[in-house]
Structure formats: structure tokens, C-alpha cells
């Protein structure tokens, strides 16, 4: 299979906020226009547009891809929305990647948006609509349920405590204090703050969870010959992977995300990575809840099973540690406008690998990073590996 090299050449993001005045279209436009300006390109240069947004229910517009299309620059261009739930933000750049890698297009704008505040009174209510209508919905499930059940299983399987897990929330919210777009950065937060926050669905407390947010992120992808003309610092997409497990949650292993492992293996193979723990310098795993960062580090084969909490305790995953994890501040700190939060991780790797991450910059001139998201019915893994 011959595929062309694809680079990220520009990125832009709005602030992540609790409730934006801007409509979803306006948020998409802000991010798109910032991404284009960052690489001095215009819509005339863009040949196709890929858009990612999670359940239509958040924005409250069915066929949200079509609704957002004008803000995403899709006018009279080949345009496609992809959707794999929470995994969307790291899937939509994969979709953009194959648009370019295949040779179909030289320049593709990739946009991800979510305006979760439209759902009233709380975005959790939207999740009621994703479950089986006869077997589960009568119990009024929401995502806190799912995470609580999975987190408890993960803790029990490996003997992990809530304190171990709370360290992740502390690290990410502290990291986010350096992110100009962040909603929940806090340089002084402690493990006690997390443990003492309100219990939502045991073992999940309020500060174990990322906030509901509005926001948008966009990146520009270009084929090699175009990328080299536009910038002397292209960041290459070296590997991509995605994988689904059974959609029925009683039929899968809740302590270990096998589907994330398979997605990672696909991406590692493509990128020619044999020893991911040595060859990946920065990791942006999906962290909508603090234990998920640990769960995903294990699925990505970057930690042994049940051992990810030890890496956090040892400081390995701090911004200046041996393997910085969520130097952006992640979903826990920057915010979680679902699809936009995933693409934010791609934008973070772009800035980090170019040495443009400002106060968030990981030291030591990192050369390769991995971003991952997770979603659908809690059983999809999406992975992108980027390098310079």
C-alpha cells in the first residue's frame, strides 16, 4: 500500500468555556480561521474539509455536521463529518489523514466542535439517549454510571486506591493552569481537594471528572510537497490506528481496554515503532476521568497493567518527567468539549513538537508524541502518532 506523507501545518483553538455566547457555527469558524491564519493559508488553498462532532444531542441540532458546515469552511468543497463518540476528536484527523495520504487532496482542513451547554439542564441527560431502549434506558443510565462501574473494576483488579487515581486529576489541572484556553486550570489543587469533592457516583467524585464545555479546535493537514513549501517545521502524522470492542458492556473486560491496545498496535506498526516506551516522548491519552488516563496508558502499552499509577506517583508523567502525560492539562484541566477535546490533544502535540507550547513546553526537544481518544459506547480507541 503506497501512501503519501501527511503533515500538520497549522492549528487553532477557541477558549474552552462552560457556556459560550457563540453558536457552534461561530466557534467552528473561530477555530478554523485561527488554524488557517497560523499557517498563512486561506480557504482558496483548502481542497476538502473534515468535521468531527460528538452526539448531535449536545448542540441540539440533528445532523450537526451539516449545521456546522459553514463555520467549518465546507462551502462548495468535499466535506464529511465523522463520528465515533468521544473518540471523534482523534478520529477526525485520521479521516483527514487518509484524505491526503490517499492522494485525493493536498490540503485538508480538519475541524472539531462541541457546544455541550445547549443541552438543558445538563449534558449528562443527552447520554440517556445512547443506551438500549429496552434493556437499560429504563434505569436512567448516564456516563457517570459507566465510568464508576469501570473505575471500580479497575481499582479492584489491581488494588489501586482513589488516592492513586486522584494524583492524575491534580497533575492535569495543575498543567492546565499554563494553558491560555483552559477552563479548569488550578496551580494549587491537591489530592485532598479531589478526595473531598462531592461524590457523584462512587468511586467517582466531582474533581475526578472533566467539565462539560463549549469549544472548537481546527488543524490544517498538507501533503509533503505542500507542507515543505508552507513551513520549515512540519509535524508528520507517522501512524494512525482505531479499533472497536463489543458495544455491549457486559461482554468486555472493564479492567483493560483491549481495543485501545489494538488501535495502538496498528499505529505503532505504521510508524515503525518497536519500543513505544522509549520512542514516544509525549503522551496525550484521553482523560475525561482521571482513572482513564491510567487505563489508557496501560492499553497503549506505555505502562504495565495496573502499574500506571506508580508512574504518576514517581513523577514520570509530570511535564518535566521521563514521559510527560497530558502536558496540555488534558480534558480534566483544559476542558471537555468532546470532539474538540480530542483534537486539542493533536494541536498540543503540534505545538509541543514545534517548540511552540509556551509555558507548557516539555523540555528536551521532544521528537515524537502520541494522542489517543476513546468513546462510542465506551469501546472505541483512536490513536495518532506524530513526529518531527
Amino acid at each position: 500500500m503506497s501512501m503519501r506523507k501527511v503533515a500538520v501545518v497549522g492549528a487553532g483553538m477557541t477558549k474552552f468555556v462552560r457556556r459560550a455566547l457563540e453558536t457552534g457555527k461561530e466557534l467552528s469558524w473561530q477555530a478554523s480561521s485561527m488554524a488557517l491564519q497560523s499557517c498563512e493559508m486561506t480557504m482558496d488553498d483548502v481542497e476538502a474539509v473534515c468535521l468531527g462532532t460528538a452526539p448531535d444531542a449536545f448542540d441540539g441540532v440533528h445532523m450537526n455536521g451539516e449545521y456546522l458546515s459553514d463555520g467549518a469552511g465546507a462551502w462548495r468543497k468535499p466535506y464529511m463529518r465523522s463520528y465515533v463518540g468521544g473518540g471523534t476528536g482523534v478520529f477526525v484527523p485520521i479521516q483527514g489523514w487518509y484524505h491526503v495520504a490517499s492522494g485525493l487532496f493536498d490540503v485538508v482542513l480538519v475541524v472539531a466542535e462541541e457546544k455541550m451547554s445547549s443541552y438543558y439542564p445538563h449534558a449528562q441527560g443527552a447520554f440517556l439517549t445512547i443506551f438500549d431502549h429496552t434493556t437499560e434506558r429504563a434505569l436512567k443510565p448516564n456516563l457517570l454510571w459507566i465510568f464508576a462501574l469501570e473505575m471500580n473494576r479497575y481499582m479492584q483488579t489491581y488494588g489501586i486506591s482513589k488516592e492513586d487515581i486522584a494524583q492524575v486529576a491534580v497533575k492535569n489541572k495543575r498543567n492546565a493552569a499554563d494553558h491560555p484556553s483552559a477552563l479548569l486550570g488550578d496551580p494549587n489543587i491537591t489530592v485532598e481537594d479531589v478526595l473531598n469533592s462531592e461524590v457523584l457516583a462512587w468511586p467517582v467524585n466531582r474533581l475526578d471528572v472533566s467539565p462539560v464545555s463549549d469549544g472548537a479546535v481546527a488543524i490544517v493537514l498538507a501533503a509533503e510537497h505542500v507542507a515543505k513549501r508552507i513551513t520549515d517545521k512540519p509535524v508528520w502524522i507517522e501512524g494512525v490506528g482505531w479499533n472497536l470492542d463489543t458495544a455491549y458492556w457486559t461482554n468486555r473486560d472493564l479492567a483493560y481496554p483491549r481495543y485501545v491496545e489494538y488501535a495502538a498496535r496498528m499505529a505503532y506498526d505504521m510508524a515503525g515503532i518497536k519500543e513505544p516506551r522509549k520512542q514516544i516522548n509525549i503522551v496525550e491519552p484521553y482523560d475525561p476521568f482521571d482513572y482513564k488516563e491510567l487505563h489508557h496508558m496501560e492499553g497503549l502499552l506505555l505502562a504495565d497493567r495496573g502499574e500506571a499509577p506508580q508512574m504518576v506517583a514517581d513523577g514520570v508523567t509530570q511535564r518535566d518527567g521521563d514521559m510527560p502525560v497530558c502536558p496540555s492539562g488534558g480534558l480534566l484541566g483544559v476542558g471537555n468539549p468532546i470532539a474538540a477535546a480530542g483534537l486539542m490533544k493533536i494541536a498540543e502535540l503540534f505545538w509541543q513538537l514545534r517548540g511552540e507550547a509556551g509555558n507548557r513546553q516539555v523540555p528536551g526537544q521532544p521528537t515524537r508524541g502520541l494522542a489517543q481518544a476513546w468513546g462510542d459506547l465506551m469501546q472505541v480507541g483512536t490513536v495518532v502518532i506524530m513526529g518531527r
Partner: protein, 155 residues
């Protein structure tokens, strides 16, 4: 009774409701567009001079070149009927007591979709002019329904 409920051969079904309530922000452009309707009985558009295109309803940005739009234009309250339909049934198949006429009325390079009220002597035709009839100011809520309907202009 909806069409499906009237169907005697339909399979047994589980009944459920999805409670969906939304609270939408108007957006940056929407705030100004709907305030102009509510407070000033005006319909506003925004102009992109790059693309020579006037957006109605007003947009914060040009969808063609993604430029920020800040030239606001009062496009008046009378536009031209581009197309129309007469409605006889509701969305669930129930007959409407009174048929309704819906039209696309052109303003700038865009337009507004709204109801048409006409008296019996007036026959609606594509190309006719129609004028916005607003609710009284005290009844307006910042909604597209602050425009009660459009009325046909007989020249």
C-alpha cells in the same frame, strides 16, 4: 391519532420518551439580528465585500472566505417570494384545521422562511413582494416569531 397509531397491523412496541430540552445561545451575530427584530422591527444582514455577498439572516463570518463580517445592513422588511407551499397536514399526518402557506422571502443574497397571510382575493405567486408584519413590541420575545407573518403586497 398519528398515522402509525391508526395502522392496525403494526407490531407491538415499547413506549419511551426521550426528554430533550435545549437552551440555545443566539450567538454573536444572532444577538444583534434578533435584537434588531425585537427592538427596532428591522431585518439585518451582514456584507462580505470580498465575496460580494450579503448574508440574511446576518452571519458573523463569510462562509465562502471565512472573513469576519462587521458591515451590518438594514435590508428592509419587504422581500421577494422565491418559492412557497401550502400545508394541509401536520408533521404526524393530522389534517390542519386551516391550511397554512409557507414561503421563502428573499433579502440580500439570502432570505427568511416564514408564514404568509393573505386575504381571499390575493393569489400568491412566485416573484410577488411580501412584507413582514411584526407582533406588538410588548409581545416580542427575541424570536423569529416576533415576525407574525409576511403579507402579500398588491402592486
Amino acid at each position: 391519532m398519528t398515522y402509525l397509531e391508526r395502522e392496525p397491523a403494526a407490531p407491538k412496541a415499547w413506549q419511551d420518551e426521550m426528554q430533550v430540552t435545549n437552551r440555545y445561545t443566539y450567538g454573536v451575530a444572532g444577538e444583534r439580528f434578533f435584537r434588531a427584530i425585537k427592538d427596532e422591527s428591522k431585518i439585518l444582514g451582514t456584507r462580505c465585500n470580498n465575496c460580494e455577498h450579503t448574508y440574511v439572516p446576518a452571519s458573523l463570518f463569510c462562509e465562502r472566505c471565512l472573513d469576519h463580517l462587521d458591515e451590518w445592513i438594514d435590508v428592509g422588511t419587504t422581500g421577494e417570494i422565491v418559492t412557497f407551499t401550502h400545508l394541509y397536514v401536520d408533521y404526524d399526518g393530522s389534517p390542519l384545521l386551516e391550511p397554512e402557506t409557507i414561503a421563502f422571502i428573499k433579502f440580500g443574497d439570502g432570505g427568511i422562511i416564514h408564514r404568509i397571510e393573505s386575504n381571499e382575493s390575493q393569489q400568491i405567486e412566485i416573484g410577488m413582494s411580501a412584507r413582514a408584519v411584526f407582533k406588538s413590541k410588548t409581545e416580542r420575545a427575541g424570536s423569529i416569531l416576533d415576525i407574525l407573518h409576511f403579507e402579500l403586497m398588491t402592486s
